[in-house]
Point group: C2
Amino acid sequence: MTEPGKLSRRRLLGVVGAGAAVAGAGAAAGALTAQALSGDPVTTTSGAADAVPFHGRHQAGIITPAQDRMHFVALDVRTDDRAELVELLKDWTRAAERMTRGLEAKPDGAVGGLPEAAPADTGEALDLPASALTLTIGFGASLFDNRFGLADQLPPALAPLPAFPLDDLDPARSDGDICLQACANDPQVAVHAIRNLVRLGFGKVAVRWSQLGFGRTSSTSKTQATPRNLFGFKDGTRNLKAEEPDALAEHVWVGKADGPDWLVDGTYLVARRIRMHIEIWDRTPLAEQELIVGRTKGVGAPLGQVAEFDEPDLHVRGEGGIPVIAEDAHIRLASAEQLKGVRILRRGYNFTDGTDGLGHLDAGLFFVCFNKDSPTQFVPMQKALSSKDSMMEYLEHTGSGLFAVPPGVSENGHWGETLFHS
Amino acid sequence: MTEPGKLSRRRLLGVVGAGAAVAGAGAAAGALTAQALSGDPVTTTSGAADAVPFHGRHQAGIITPAQDRMHFVALDVRTDDRAELVELLKDWTRAAERMTRGLEAKPDGAVGGLPEAAPADTGEALDLPASALTLTIGFGASLFDNRFGLADQLPPALAPLPAFPLDDLDPARSDGDICLQACANDPQVAVHAIRNLVRLGFGKVAVRWSQLGFGRTSSTSKTQATPRNLFGFKDGTRNLKAEEPDALAEHVWVGKADGPDWLVDGTYLVARRIRMHIEIWDRTPLAEQELIVGRTKGVGAPLGQVAEFDEPDLHVRGEGGIPVIAEDAHIRLASAEQLKGVRILRRGYNFTDGTDGLGHLDAGLFFVCFNKDSPTQFVPMQKALSSKDSMMEYLEHTGSGLFAVPPGVSENGHWGETLFHS
């Protein structure tokens, strides 16, 4: 009853599938071309369907030009056995490397195995190309308790985030031992990847919370146009970009001088599920919206300037000496100028999760950022925003996570290899 | 602080936006070319970014080649004033027609209005093309109570669905006075459309429930490849297709002989939120999965046949006289042969809504189908499936809705015009 011969995603790449070739123009422009890796050659298609290299000094999915869709999951580890956890990290790495190349999670996958065995891949991405899939892992502070002998490896910068004013965090949407971020230009590819990784961890990890993001809200490459968030504004114009290696070294990548050693070339991921009260925002006058943001809504120019990428001038005053970019404007409070030079790499997604039970859509921004030292970067920025930003009236932080993101995987290495020395 | 001059989505169509040109190969092949409508000419882009005509004999979004993404919302009407409801239907129609052309919900939209007024469009789709957006309205039985004088217009076929074996319906995910289905090849465009329609209804309607679908699970045109559901199987191979007008007249479109008059050229939409217990399914052997479905997992051929579109032979027996397509196989129970010729037009989407709180992903199929008489089509099919289908072990119906879908809108007409005679 099974197919004659074996069938793999790679061999099916020529087949037109469900929403197969998603060619987001922005993503296409920035998509990396596939890199020949060991084993099967990668069949490349054009643009946003391409494969993103898995191995490297840093993990992919951080400065990779932000894909259009994401599926993020936080997991609790259910085993206390360090060896079992390391084995899982190795299994995951093999599967992740394969899936980012457009292959199934395991050889023989969905239909190539024995009929009397459960398939090694769940199959819903069988006909779909790599779609620029990236898989990125992070470790939460709770992984460094007494279960796995990691207590002395806990980075000080992984200390819990402080409570911010107006936080309304749901523990069921916060924290976790491990996070996995899947980004792709086809949501079915991202969901397939997370599902198969979770499946590989059956009995060893359990899903704590997850989040689907339907549209990116940041650019991480100068080749990408700036997308809009659900307030209708371009978001992330001044974001750090892949083309700024010096700034990335300064603000994102953990260096040898920063430590700990196992995290060198890694970074920290901060996730914040931010419910946006869009109904209230939508009743706010355009001029007030622009004052709150500090930019025009149309082209996204800083107030007082003309074009999106014009530098904001925080000192210009208008009639009556009132600053053109208000003292409590979002872009002022989040600016490096106001924060002693602090910058972060944002990589968030719009979400909508149904209804809040009160007649409104439960929608907002799944904020994700990467920085090399949250206590001196994300934390002061969020403190300033949560206490002074007039936008806070329309926002509600409902989930939070902080994860240490290890460096990229060496050839034949595995996720977490520098932490577990194995 | 606002832009000089007006800015419209149409004028921005050349701009590369966030995931702007989503060119799903399957959808592209089947996308309808934009039709010149009254007013502004439509700027067309290629493939899946195109506009789908809004006006016509039937509403769009039914036999339109299924787009890649959907946002579905069910609403409760909060006003008791018939005239106010009709006014809303007119407002909605104007906005829907504009948005399906890639324009903003209202002229002057997000940034062209007065600075001291709330913008007329929420703006997050400003830079995005039409993306084959369709908007489809349906009326639930509860709309025909005593509030709006519609009691004598209630179609008998809109009677509540019976309780099916194993139903586990959540009232908070079921029913509603009105449903709006937005389908598009870019989820941001679909979400923008629903949000702006909900906004236009502020104070008159409230969101009862909503569902985001990330990947289509059916083809509605012979130009499309068959997509896969979260069981990893091709779904909807034998679906009704846009290219079969006689079959659509027989099974989907309400005819003059069927009545009621106001619903002629309309149809009925059945929505079922089906949670799929994917973790259990994933542990099932391949051969058993294929027996349950009645098709091979790889190419999707009916068991006993070679290719996907081979006709299933329900009579073939194998060793020991056992039917090759089992008596309780999904495709046998759902087949027209088994159901006295009954067929339906399926148009469902995969979903994942986070976590179930028990360590599993809350994922499944948002089943949507269209038929001309649910009591003799969907109901007997679902009765057979829910009582005999061995797949039911892996499924849980958690939401349900039945809506009468009025015919298409005439030029200068509005949604529901035949029902409200206005």
